[in-house]
């Protein structure tokens, strides 16, 4: 187990270096305008100011030299600076808490609600509850996230307050609202994956319910509850855990739309904006962190397998 863990962690190093190099090369190679002109927006950036800033941020150096300077900086704990003079590390330490919190709340909603709905549907196969889960998940999957987001914001945020005086769901994010601030955006963010989790659980559980060992357990006279929870569900959860583990990464990186709608200044929006403005240092920094989240998420998933199914062993 220990050796396995170390091996996996060592494997992560080339992945990280490869990813940063690739991303850095891609932002560098992105066609089009000077990043300093992009900051100036619709007005033409003054040529002298542009030249001074290009010199200051070494934008005129060849690519490999720029990358070398960047990566040596990273190994000294310096993720670089944006072209407006802010530390990339500061940007991420400001943005990360929001995204992490949002992703965690979303993850909990997704896992708990998704698995519960799936289990209920599987156990009441073909009945009303099953149909309800199937239809509602289909609806959630087919409506784009920004529609769900805006509709919920308008109805629960604006109209509920203005017409009924119920001020529970804030329109936009405000830290002082505590967890309440995360509920609506997290639900919106989780909605699609939640639907997948429900459907995956339903299918997987129905499959295992037909397995021999479940029949044996039932024949032994075990209560149905124990059969389902301890015997069937435990095995049925393996594909779901795989999905959830991979999804934690995409929850963190893919929250661009949700974060925008609810004005959460998290990592998704920061990355999207930085790609647009060709702020290489920010993009690489952010992607590096996301790659790490993916790697750790996957490692956790692999370790969880052994917990769920003791036959799986790591050497």
């Amino acid at each position: 187990m220990g050796r396995y863990l170390i091996r996996r962690l060592i494997q992560a190093i080339p992945v990280l270096i490869g990813a940063t190099f690739l991303i850095y090369a891609l932002t560098f190679a992105m066609p089009g305008a000077d990043p300093i002109q992009l900051l100036a927006g619709e007005k033409k950036a003054d040529p002298l100011v542009t030249a001074m800033l290009r010199a200051k941020y070494h934008l005129d150096d060849p690519f490999l030299l720029q990358y070398w300077n960047y990566i040596t900086g990273v190994f000294q704990g310096d993720l670089g600076e944006t072209l407006t003079g802010r530390k990339v590390l500061d940007l991420f330490s400001e943005a990360f808490p929001y995204t992490v919190n949002l992703a965690l709340v979303a993850f909990v909603i997704e896992a708990v609600v998704g698995v519960l709905a799936g289990v209920m549907a599987a156990l009441r196969r073909g009945k009303f509850l099953d149909q309800l889960v199937l239809i509602s998940t289909l609806m959630v999957i087919s409506i784009p996230v920004f529609v769900t987001g805006f509709v919920l914001q308008l109805t629960l945020g604006v109209q509920l307050k203005n017409n009924w005086g119920i001020d529970f769901f804030p329109v936009s994010f405000n830290e002082n609202d505590g967890i309440r601030a995360y509920l609506l955006p997290a639900f919106v963010l989780a909605s699609t994956s939640l639907a997948y989790v429900a459907r995956l659980t339903r299918t997987s559980l129905m499959e295992t319910m037909r397995a021999d060992y479940v029949r044996t357990a039932t024949a032994k006279g075990l209560p149905r509850r124990r059969v389902v929870v301890n015997h069937a569900l435990r095995n049925a959860l393996i594909p779901i855990v795989t999905f959830l583990g991979a999804d934690l990464g995409s929850l963190m990186g893919g929250a661009v739309i949700t974060e925008r709608i609810f004005n959460i200044h998290g990592v998704g929006g920061l990355l999207a904006q930085s790609v647009y403005l060709k702020q290489g240092a920010v993009v690489v920094g952010g992607v590096t962190i996301l790659v790490l989240v993916y790697l750790i998420g996957n490692l956790l998933v692999d370790l969880l397998y052994a917990v769920l199914d003791p036959r799986i062993r790591y050497a």
């Binding site: 002298l48 001074m52 190994f75 330490s93 604006v158 329109v171 002082n176 962190i289």
Partner: protein, 540 residues
């Protein structure tokens, strides 16, 4: 920290992050019902909050509350009026004597004196600081020594043209006469700076010490909010009525608008397009809708493509084939006005209908002119625009009108970003017509002419078609020399007439600004640069 891996840093960041968000129990304090606090919309400013380094609207909005310059602009007429300055005098438009009023202090108690302006301008003019406002100091004598150009070192620390006479007086000597200098002084690059700035400009930008009606209430909380509070020692006239204002930072106007509707915030001075259809119904007279400083053009690559656009008749034909009324009404829902001068309607010197015939829709005459002039090569025109700014619809409308009225083939060419189009134009790679816009730096007719159509604007400004006309240059120089305001304005209008005759760009519409505010506040006004006049806002 040598040898620390990035992984370690990331882990650190995540832990710090979690700790930071773990404690968030205090109750929301910006509801604004009592105590005189309100919340207004803002986008994250780009740079530290230093007037000399701010060329974008969001930073300018905050600076406008924290600082006050030598002159300010009337919210209605946009005429310059004295603010910190007691008097601004000149006899030749070249040497200016500026006297400062008593009673203005920085928020740390330091007096606003002549030196605080000289300090600020010297910093802005020095190329080593790479401040966005640098070009504004190029008119002052000695600026070349502070900004000698790329790969060169400044040979002076101070502008030769600035002289402190006494604590309350200083003189400015310009390289050439410039009659609009006083008007220019209201721009945020000319704000004063206290001594504390020099110690650490970067730190200053996070929590600036200004001289305006509001002072910072804590440091700038990036991507979250900027809080300001009333400065009690501000001169009685112009002192803020509210106790405090929170600029809440949004990157999505739709969300800000929904927050306004739920009265979570009280003023939104930039409404999303989605709100335009219903906002007047919902907000009634709390919806402000007025012309602002922007002008939208079709630009023409005169130098890059003389075969197509070299003849003035062709340019006139294109202009007359554009149905400005239809575009502003159907595409923009009346949120733009047809342009009838190169100068914005809010600027002193604007003349209604100045474009005359060429600004009037006349497809028959247009076609006639076009045929007489021999058309464009291949009977084809390209129309470039940047796809990131909501320009597709009106550019396609113009394309269709040109197609229908002139019988030419017009293709709309999208560029991903505005900068991409500028790159191609600069390298003479793009030879089609293009969309263009200008909004003023300061409310002077001159600001709608020189930065866009003069020779110097080819290198430093927005003259992307590389238009050159000596008569125009001479007229501008003449107007610059004027010592009588009315005479000066007349000469700028004559320069405007030359542009109208030559038509290097085709003005299509002027922009309108739209804002709305909640029932809880009153006296909300927005100036021509789209900035809220927060000192006057009161609670109901």
């Amino acid at each position: 920290m040598r040898g620390a891996t990035s992984a370690k840093w990331v882990a650190g960041a995540v832990i710090v992050a979690m700790a930071a968000t773990a404690c968030s129990t205090s109750k929301d304090s910006n509801a604004g019902k009592s105590g005189g606090n309100i919340t207004v919309v803002l986008g994250e400013p780009q740079h530290g909050l230093v007037g000399q380094n701010t060329a974008e609207s969001e930073g300018a909005e905050v600076l406008n509350a924290l600082f006050v310059g030598l002159v300010d602009y009337d919210n209605k007429t946009n005429e310059p009026k004295l603010a910190v300055a007691e008097s601004i005098d000149t006899t030749d438009s070249k040497t200016w004597t500026i006297k400062i009023k008593d009673g203005f202090t920085f928020h740390n108690g330091e007096k606003v004196d002549a030196a605080s302006f000289v300090r600020a301008w010297n910093w802005g003019a020095n190329q080593d600081n790479a401040a966005e406002g640098l070009p504004f100091f190029s008119k002052i004598e000695g600026s070349d020594e502070l900004a000698p150009g790329k790969d060169k070192k400044p040979t002076a620390k101070e502008l030769k043209g600035l002289k402190v006479v006494d604590e309350k007086t200083f003189t400015v000597t310009l390289k050439d006469p410039f009659s609009q200098f006083k008007t220019m002084l209201g721009y945020n690059a000319f704000y004063p700076l206290p001594k504390a700035f020099e110690a650490d400009p970067k730190k200053f930008g996070e929590a600036p010490i200004g001289n305006g009606p509001f002072q910072m209430d804590g440091a700038w909380e990036h991507n979250k909010q900027i809080k300001i509070k009333k400065y009690d020692k501000y001169p009685a006239e112009g002192r803020a009525k509210l106790d405090g204002v929170t600029f809440k930072i949004y990157d999505n106007l739709d969300t800000a608008y929904n927050d306004l509707r739920a009265d979570t915030i009280q003023i939104v001075d930039k409404l999303p397009i989605s709100a335009m259809a219903t906002v007047s119904q919902e907000f009634g007279d709390r919806y402000i809708y007025k012309p602002e400083s922007g002008v939208g053009y079709i630009g023409l690559p005169l130098e890059q493509n003389p075969e197509a656009f070299g003849k003035v008749e062709i340019r006139k034909a294109i202009s007359m084939a554009i149905d400005r009324d239809a575009i502003t009404k159907t595409i923009f829902n009346g949120t733009r006005k047809p342009a009838d001068d190169f100068i914005s309607p809010i600027i002193p010197g604007y003349r209604k209908g100045a474009l005359g015939e060429v600004g009037t829709y006349n497809p028959t005459k247009a076609k006639e002119l076009y045929t007489q002039a021999g058309g464009v090569p291949g009977n084809k025109i390209e129309l470039g625009y940047n796809a990131d700014g909501g320009h597709k619809e009106w550019i396609e409308a113009v394309a269709n009108q040109l197609k229908a009225n002139l019988g030419i083939e017009v293709t709309a060419k999208p560029y991903a970003k505005f900068g991409d189009m500028l790159d191609d134009l600069g390298a003479s790679k793009y030879k089609g017509a293009f969309r263009m816009a200008w909004s003023m730096d300061y409310p002077a007719a001159e600001n709608y002419l020189r930065p866009i159509f003069s020779k110097v604007a080819i290198e430093n400004g927005s003259n992307y078609g590389h238009y050159v006309n000596e008569a125009f240059e001479t007229k501008l120089a003449e107007a610059d020399k004027a010592t009588d305001a009315a005479q000066g304005l007349k000469l700028y209008q004559e320069a405007d007439d030359i542009i109208i005759k030559d038509l290097p760009y085709i003005p299509v519409f002027t922009y309108m600004s739209s804002s709305a505010y909640s029932k809880t506040v009153k006296n909300v006004e927005v100036d021509a640069q789209g900035r809220m006049d927060l000192a006057n806002v009161e609670l109901n």
